[in-house]
């Protein structure tokens, strides 16, 4: 069994999650503070990928990144790089699809933050950077962690947009999900089943990790709460 799809899926999911971790958090932080109308409009646009069919996302991405389209043509002429049909093309698709998960959970977490903590930190002379990383983020850790894991799990399962923008080339762009589809289509039921098992066990481990993290987190605060 060629393990390339596993390796490819993991690297795509990891890179997308790391990038979206920062992008989602900063988007959530600044949008939570934006005026109401701006917030409402941005919220709809940024959440759209969550409800759109993956094929629509893939189509829109191809419209932008395709070699004959605006951005794709520009990058091709300036850097000589094709943005589609490479293994990292899937990162674009995955990022767009998982962004709303990270953004929404992080925003929910930020909105539950007790602003008086930030205010008193400011009057104690603490910098806004310190407040963000040492007070706001730890306070919202649980929500942000949940969002990150959710985004990672979704990234591993991404199929529709990825298959459109990165295609299926064994040993180059194949991921677990595209491999399962390809094997099923070519009647290689036994191998398809083995990849299904691989996928199931990864998901299982991820969810187990979530539970473990949450238990470890709740222990210190469970002691002597009153």
């Amino acid at each position: 069994m060629d393990l390339f799809p596993l390796y490819n899926s993991l690297r795509i999911a990891l890179i997308s999650t790391v990038l979206i971790f920062f992008i989602g958090i900063f988007a959530a932080y600044y949008i939570a503070k934006a005026p109401r109308i701006v917030k409402g409009v941005l919220d709809v646009i940024l959440t759209l990928p969550l409800v759109l069919p993956p094929t629509v996302v893939g189509y829109l991405l191809l419209r932008v990144l395709g070699p004959k389209r605006l951005l794709g043509a520009w990058v091709l002429s300036v850097f000589g790089l094709k943005l589609t049909m490479t293994w990292w093309s899937a990162i674009f698709a995955t990022m767009v699809v998982i962004f709303p998960l990270m953004y929404r959970t992080a925003r929910g977490a930020f909105e539950s933050f007790d602003e008086t903590l930030a205010y008193s930190a400011q009057s104690l002379g603490l910098s806004n950077t310190y407040i963000f990383w040492r007070i706001r983020m730890p306070y919202c850790k649980q929500g942000i962690m949940a969002g990150t894991v959710l985004a990672f799990a979704r990234a591993l399962g991404e199929y529709g947009a990825t298959s459109m923008i990165a295609g299926y080339t064994p040993g180059r762009t194949a991921t677990i999900s595209t491999t399962v589809y390809q094997l099923w289509r070519t009647n290689d039921d036994a191998l398809a089943f083995r990849w299904v098992l691989v996928n199931l066990s990864i998901s299982f481990v991820v969810l187990l990790a979530v539970n473990f993290l949450e238990k470890r987190k709740s222990r210190p605060s469970g002691k002597g709460g009153a």
């Binding site: 903590l117 205010y119 008193s120 400011q122 009057s123 104690l124 605060s221």
Partner: protein, 346 residues
């Protein structure tokens, strides 16, 4: 050491307009919730931005709308304690205090300051605990220690005792009074509790609907609250609209009584009398009253009285100790509203 505040801020229909000065003493802002007292503190701390005005602390301009000055909270050296104490939940007591000392860049000095507040506030035993493992009183101590270690020029306390059980308050008031005395600089305290304010502050400013109505020495404010809100907030429970009948005679419309008064009623629209100032018996300003209701308090009675023959008037409350009332309990009795106890109000 002094602070001078003169600010205006509009928030929807609410209009804050606060102007006061205070030196090295404790000023209390007394007002009902939503009157703008917490907003005033936030403006001084730089968390809220006034629309107009000026805030000057020890000669340093913190805010001036005309000169376009608005120092960030970090540079104001204002110690603000919130009513929930706002301890950082992810840090231990020691880490919280260290966070408060970050402004001091000199390491040995910082360490010394941290050690000093920890021993001043008796926090040695608690230093490795998290805020949620502390009682309300302990949290307050840590919050004060964390503010004082940051060496503020002024201390702002927003409802410092409202998060505590009532039986703890009295004892903690005492320790906060000690802290204020040792601090020795300007303190502004916000509260809606008149007893607390009277015990803690030197001067009182009564606030209502974003305006400071009365401001002065606490004794003067309690003796002559001047406005209806001032009277209500300083605990005067009997208040009636009045009509002036002559030089020294008024008709208290709500009570249904005609009373003679001393000076000061020239511009008055209301009259007030504290419940413990009424006296049973004949004499001047004595009105024959019927007992409408007898309310038993832990250590006293409040007797609600209405002039005999009237049904619609607002009853006047008389607070008396238990023994007195139990020895004289009657259905109708003459009650005296002494002239010197009637407070003219605008």
């Amino acid at each position: 050491m002094s602070v001078s505040v003169d600010i205006e801020k509009k928030l929807g229909t609410f209009h804050l307009k606060a102007a006061f000065e205070t030196g090295n003493d404790t000023l209390a802002l007394l007002g009902a919730s939503g009157c703008g007292k917490s907003m005033t503190l936030k403006c001084i701390a730089g968390i809220e931005k006034p629309d107009k005005g000026r805030i000057i602390l020890d000669g340093v301009t913190l805010f001036d709308s005309e000169k376009n000055i608005n120092l960030p909270p970090q540079e104001r050296h204002v110690g603000l304690m919130f009513q929930n104490y706002a301890l950082f939940p992810n840090m231990t007591v020691l880490q919280n205090i260290r966070a408060g000392a970050k402004r001091e860049k000199d390491r040995p000095k910082r360490q010394a300051a941290i050690q000093r507040v920890i021993s001043d506030f008796g926090l040695e035993e608690l230093s490795s605990r998290y805020p949620h493992q502390l009682s309300g009183g302990q949290q307050q101590r840590v919050a004060l220690a964390r503010i004082l270690v940051s060496d503020p020029k002024i201390l702002l306390l927003d409802e410092p005792f409202s998060a505590l059980d009532s039986h703890l308050r009295f004892r903690l008031e005492q320790s906060v009074r000690d802290v204020i005395r040792a601090f020795g600089r300007t303190v502004i305290l916000v509260s809606h509790d008149r007893d607390e304010v009277y015990r803690m502050a030197d001067r009182i400013a009564v606030m209502d609907h974003g305006q400071i109505e009365v401001c002065g020495d606490k004794k003067a404010v309690f003796d002559a609250p001047r406005t209806k809100t001032g009277a209500v907030l300083t605990g005067c429970k009997n208040i009636s609209a009045i009509r002036r009948l002559g030089e020294s005679r008024i008709h208290a419309v709500d009570w249904g009584m005609e009373l003679s008064v001393q000076g000061g009623f020239e511009n008055a629209v209301f009259a007030g009398i504290r419940m413990h100032c009424l006296r049973p018996g004949e004499g001047e300003n004595s009105v024959l009253c019927r007992v409408v209701e007898e309310i038993e308090n832990p250590f006293s009675y409040t007797i609600m009285l209405r002039p005999v023959g009237s049904e619609e008037t607002v009853p006047v409350g008389w607070e008396t100790d238990k023994a007195t009332w139990e020895s004289m309990r009657q259905e109708t009795l003459p009650i005296c509203l002494p002239e010197e106890s009637l407070i003219p109000l605008e």
